[in-house]
């Protein structure tokens, strides 16, 4: 048993209270500890990814209790990938938050940040649905704090909406878990996979209800139509580095759908296999449309980026909804890409907005370093919209290629291609208003006030550039990455392998 598997959860869990209680009066100390912790988490995540690349499904039994009775953490290629993605993103976002001073504009940023990482990594690693609920709550309660970090009227109001929405979602999650436990008597993902096929199809109504409720809960997290409406207000009003970190939170929802609805309710289980794909596919198509129209109609830069996140989640979930190994490979590639693309856009948006008055998309005097920021915005927008040469193009190409099924191709291709076109138009318009249609600089009193928000330092630019470099790297090394992801999705669809790894070989056969 590898104790390293639980480290991505335990390390931030130990570090966060330490930062919160001991280092709260010394921002330098808190920053040092937070960066050190995140770097160590990153190193651990690389180690875990190498471990998982071997192809074996590693199990960590908490308290060494055997599987259906105790809680297990499961490390396979998919969860290792997600943990690595989380810690890479966390490092980029953390450096941005420190360089721009966002972390000093309120209290306890670093403690909440570490708790957030704990929740996200835990949600990716756990092999138990109730434990998934607990980690969801951990990441949500940290995200409430981060969302309203540094306060302000708009932010508090958007924060309240976000909290109410997610508390209602959590209650629904508990209803789903209660139904599932009442119907099957277990909440372990592998054990569910073993028990649900034993229930005759005509008696499986409760299981179908539970599967559908879980789908709705995960859809709330993944910002899927019709429960996507919380996302634009939340992301647009959150502090920019937090919004960049939240780019991984929507992926937690997508991951949970992939994990639970593949292994427990997935293909091969008569009573529930058609549920997810039947409802997920049309909802994802509408989500793409909502995102695209939102990008066109947005009047603020941050809302524009937030709607592009909604659109990218739609594209991702269209690929997920096919529930086949090939489409899942494409979905995973697009998931990694869209996480970095969204984060990059938020970070660059932050750099732009702090140099302008407000983030409305209107012409104002040209700001310092207009050209450099315009170039960065251009690159990140290309990534998000899915134009060559960055990885968005390859990601969308893979998704389109995977959806060749005659029943799907019409809707999926139309939605993704038209959605991409609208996104490109929206970003092009926003970019030209922001950077090209600048009015003549007038030497009024305002001009002197702007002096402090001057040139971006190298440290401020580095995280956004690192994010863009990840997109470029993802495009250049698309071959090796796709090979790994193909293995990951093959492992995900190997339900018997997962069950025998978690429950032991004898249980899986029965």
């Amino acid at each position: 048993m590898m104790h390293a598997i639980i480290l991505p959860v335990v390390l931030p869990a130990m570090l966060a209270p330490l930062i919160g209680f001991v280092m709260r009066h010394d921002i330098t100390l808190a920053r040092t500890a937070s960066v050190a912790g995140t770097v160590v988490s990153f190193a651990i995540a690389i180690g875990l990814a190498q471990l998982a690349a071997g192809g074996e499904t590693h199990i960590y039994r908490l308290g060494d209790w055997p599987a259906p009775f105790g809680i297990v953490l499961v490390l396979d290629r998919l969860s290792a990938l997600m943990v690595l993605l989380t810690s890479t993103l966390a490092l980029i976002v953390l450096i941005h938050a420190i360089a721009t001073g966002w972390d000093a504009r309120g209290r306890h940023f670093h403690a909440l940040f570490q708790f957030q990482l704990m929740g996200i990594c835990g949600a990716f690693l756990t092999g138990d649905v109730f434990n998934l609920f607990v980690f969801f709550e951990v990441l949500l309660i940290a995200s409430y704090g981060l969302m309203i970090h540094s306060g302000g009227r708009e932010r508090m109001r958007a924060g309240l909406q976000y909290v109410v929405m997610n508390l209602a979602g959590s209650t629904l999650f508990l209803f789903a878990l209660g139904t599932l436990y009442g119907a099957t008597g277990t909440l372990n993902i592998a054990d569910l996979a073993a028990r649900i096929p034993e229930i005759p199809a005509e008696e499986a109504a409760l299981v179908r209800v539970a599967a559908m409720l879980l789908m709705i809960v995960f859809a709330v997290k993944a910002a899927l139509f019709p429960v996507q409406f919380w996302l634009p207000a939340t992301y647009a009003n959150a502090p920019a580095p937090v919004a960049a970190l939240f780019a991984i939170m929507t992926k937690v929802g997508a991951y949970a759908i992939l994990r639970v609805h593949t292994i427990s309710f997935g293909p091969g289980i008569g009573s529930t296999e058609d549920l997810a794909s039947t409802w997920l596919f049309p909802a994802a198509i509408v989500t793409i449309a909502v995102g695209a129209f939102g990008v066109i109609g947005a009047r603020r830069l941050m809302s524009l980026i937030a709607f592009s996140v909604v659109g990218s989640m739609g594209t991702l979930l269209v690929a997920v909804a096919a529930f086949s190994p090939g489409a899942t490979t494409a979905a995973l590639y697009y998931m990694v890409h869209s996480t970095f693309a969204a984060a990059c856009l938020f970070l660059i948006g932050d750099l732009v907005v702090t140099r302008r008055r407000g983030d409305t998309l209107s012409a104002v005097p040209a700001t310092v370093e207009n050209g450099l920021l315009a170039a960065l915005f251009f690159a990140a927008a290309i990534g998000m919209a899915g134009m060559p040469p960055l990885s968005g193009f390859l990601g969308k190409l893979l998704v389109l290629d995977a959806l060749r099924d005659p029943g799907l191709i019409g809707w999926a291709w139309t939605a993704i291609l038209v959605g991409s076109l609208l996104t490109i138009v929206g970003f092009a318009r926003a970019g030209s208003v922001l950077f090209w249609k600048s009015t003549e600089a007038t030497l009024s009193a305002d001009a002197t006030e702007d002096a402090p928000a001057a040139r971006a330092t190298a440290l401020e630019l580095a995280p956004a550039m690192a994010g863009l470099a990840m997109l470029a790297g993802l495009a250049i090394f698309a071959g090796p990455v796709a090979t790994y992801l193909e293995a990951a999705s093959a492992q995900l669809y190997d339900r018997a392998g997962y069950m025998s790894a978690v429950l032991g070989p004898a249980e899986a056969e029965g």
């Binding site: 109730f130 607990v134 709550e137 309660i141 409430y144 309203i148 306060g151 302000g152 009227r153 508090m156 109001r157 924060g159 309240l160 909406q161 909290v163 109410v164 508390l167 209602a168 959590s170 209650t171 508990l174 209803f175 878990l177 209660g178 139904t179 436990y181 009442g182 207000a233």
Partner: protein, 118 residues
Amino acid sequence: MEILIASTVGVLTAGGVYLILRLRSFPVILGIALLSYAVNVFLFASGRLAIDQSPILAKYGEASYTDPLPQALVLTAIVISFGMTAVLVMIGLAAYLEAGHDRIDIVEGEDDAGDAQS
């Protein structure tokens, strides 16, 4: 017994949903509290209803017992919902003090109209 538990869950849920739809922060907080009570009772019942049974198997193989797992689940859920309600109250209070009103359904642009009334 079943009727009592089922109607309790139903009434609490209905009340909770109604209060959440009021879209003012105090009713919404109460509504979420009611919903979490409903879900706690529901979770408790998901291990089947049993009266006067011990939550562990008796030593000499007496077969009937009440399922201990939902009790553990419900305890976790109670602790989490309690903490979440406290956070929600604080955020609701802060939003009320910042904005001067406690509506939570305001969209962008309606802000000034709300101020004029208050």
